[in-house]
């Protein structure tokens, strides 16, 4: 079951060009010169990234490739929030630092012509969407691209300006009403409405994706969702990152690897009750 048509993964020492806070709380934009990964990456794929001058954390962290610089196609962009030791260390990277990247990893989104492409993001789940928006524009020119971007509060809305600059119509939603629609992104989607020609892409916390699946019902089969899972390797060697999915007629479901068969899954296949949310035990208190 070697993944068909998938180019080999690359191990590359990316060089940090710039790291800057993304304006909003705890979010970092990291640009890296990483010619080989940048040349191969497709929307929705990710890298395992680790700051080389630090011994801890031991493992890389899975991060979506947010964009490849059209002006310099050797440069890729990572966008992440600092939630724990690993992402905090990466946020400390300064120009010239080496970041070991393993990637591109995972399957990525599949793009096909549609009347409207709807990108549904919760919080930092927006990370893979700039590159996706770029590819949609290239592969389906003229199609409408909309991003429904939700967060708890306005400081959690990331990358809106970048998406707008790419010609995407961005509609925001915040739970506290501090910007845009008051409510969550699934409610925002309900307000937006869907037509048969809409193609859906989603990325965000498990709770959001599960709510989206409930809202979409049977049509959730056609929504491509990028999932998170705890990973050790990112390339299918350790079996850490299992997601329970079920195909039509299959009861109970089976495991697939988020790093290999995912991270993008048909939303309707995911069995949320058997896939515990990634954040449950994700905060060990220790570590230097």
């Amino acid at each position: 079951m070697q993944q068909p048509d998938r180019p080999p993964m690359i191990v590359e020492e990316g060089v940090v060009l710039g790291s800057r806070p993304a304006g909003t709380a705890d979010c970092t934009l990291l640009s890296l010169r990483s010619p080989r990964v940048a040349a191969r990456v497709r929307p929705g794929q990710f890298v395992m990234a680790r700051l080389l001058r630090r011994d801890f954390p031991y493992l890389g962290r899975p991060l979506s490739v947010a964009d490849v610089d059209p002006a310099d196609p050797e440069v890729l962009l990572l966008v992440f929030t600092a939630v724990g030791a690993g992402t905090r260390r990466l946020a400390e990277a300064s120009p010239g630092d080496a970041v070991r990247l393993v990637g591109p990893l995972g399957n990525g989104f599949t793009i096909a012509p549609a009347a409207e492409h709807v990108l549904i993001a919760g919080g930092i789940g927006v990370a893979p969407f700039p590159l996706l928006a770029r590819y949609i524009a290239r592969l389906d020119p003229g199609a409408q691209r909309v991003c429904l971007l939700g967060a708890a509060t306005r400081t959690g809305l990331h990358l809106a300006a970048r998406l707008r600059a790419l010609g995407v119509v961005v509609e925001t939603a915040t739970l506290d009403g501090s910007e845009g629609f008051r409510g969550n992104v699934v409610e925002r989607l309900a307000a937006h409405g869907l037509h048969p020609g809409s193609r859906l892409y989603a990325c965000g916390p498990d709770a959001m994706l599960a709510a989206l699946a409930r809202h979409l019902g049977p049509t959730s089969d056609t929504c491509q969702a990028a999932l998170e899972a705890h990973m050790a390797c990112g390339f299918g060697a350790c079996n850490a990152c299992v997601i329970t999915v079920a195909d039509p007629g299959e009861s109970g479901g089976h495991h697939e690897l988020a790093c290999l068969q995912g991270p993008v899954f048909a939303l309707g296949r995911v069995r949320w009750e058997r896939t515990p949310p990634v954040c449950v035990a994700a905060r060990p208190s220790g570590g230097p």
Partner: protein
């Protein structure tokens, strides 16, 4: 890459390996195209994920937690089972062109024997590694790693079932590991893998809960190297069997430490998960030792620790 006279060549008993580096069970497969990252043909061998008679779903996620010195894992022997492995995985491993060591696990001696018979007789299988030491299943360490006699019954049953090379993977949690080593030798083992994961615990004190669902989990990575290295020394001194070291190998220096302490070869697990280029890096390091320090044949360093 290495010809028969390569200084990197070693032997585990009568099995010749072109390099002392093997993959460790449960940390390697060939589902990803590794071209440019890892020259599989340069490996000394591949040890597969532990295979059980029936498919096993493993433990619920999260299955790993990072700790200083490596990681804790609680995979729980997820595998496709004998039939699935034979049909889908074995052909791919066999095509890799390096010695293949199939790791087997089970709940009782009969299950081990059935698996040993199923794999032991196949020409593409160089050896069977008997995993009597998985910490992440209900009947792992507790069942076979507590008493030498319980472990020896498993090894004996496998020996009765096949004439193949049998590597017995010991648990670092066993008391008096030398006694296990001798019992395995008497029961017909061909080599000993020292060792499986240590057992550790990470807690989330605010929630008063273990970080991983089962609580205790397998601790692997550089933090365990000194512990396992000492076990290799102990076991190598207690039996005539060749020893394969496994625990925290990350560099060419680590490999040499293990060889000198008594290992004939080493398995690399966690370091590969962290950095898939690690085999290439270690191989380059060993070649540098040979070329720049004139250390000669690696084989000649095995078990030469001054006492």
């Amino acid at each position: 890459m290495h010809d028969a006279s390569s200084p990197l060549e070693v032997a585990v008993g009568d099995l010749r390996l072109r390099s002392p580096l093997l993959t460790a069970s449960g940390t390697f497969n060939l589902k990803t195209d590794l071209t440019g990252v890892l020259d599989v043909r340069g490996l000394g061998g591949i040890v597969t994920k532990t295979v059980t008679r029936k498919p096993r779903p493993g433990n619920p996620p999260p299955r790993i937690a990072e700790v200083p010195g490596g990681l804790l894992n609680s995979i729980g022997l997820e595998n496709e089972g004998l039939e699935g492995f034979r049909a889908r995985e074995l052909p791919r491993f066999a095509a890799a062109g390096v010695p293949l060591i199939v790791s087997i696990g089970g709940d009782d001696a009969g299950e081990f024997a059935e698996l040993a018979a199923a794999f032991g007789g196949r020409p593409e299988v160089a050896a069977v590694e008997i995993n009597v030491s998985c910490p992440n299943v209900d009947r792992g360490t507790a069942a076979f790693a507590a008493r030498p006699a319980a472990m020896a019954r498993v090894v004996q049953a496998c020996r009765d079932a096949t004439r193949a090379r049998l590597w017995v993977k010991l648990s670092p949690e066993s008391p008096d590991l030398w006694a296990f080593a001798r019992a395995a030798e008497e029961a017909g083992a061909s080599a000993l893998t020292v060792a499986n994961s240590h057992v550790g615990l990470a807690v989330d004190w605010r929630r008063r809960r273990p970080v991983l669902g089962r609580g205790a989990a397998g601790y692997t990575g550089p933090g365990i190297k000194p512990l396992t290295l000492r076990l290799v020394q102990t076991v190598a001194g207690a039996t005539r069997l060749p020893v394969v070291g496994a625990g925290g190998v990350e560099s060419a220096d680590d490999v040499m430490d293990y060889l000198v302490a008594g290992a004939s070869a080493v398995e690399v697990g966690t370091a590969y998960l962290r950095h898939p280029g690690v085999f290439a890096d270690i191989t380059a390091g060993l070649e540098r030792f040979v070329q720049e320090e004139g250390i000669g044949r690696l084989q000649d360093w095995v078990g030469t620790l001054a006492s």
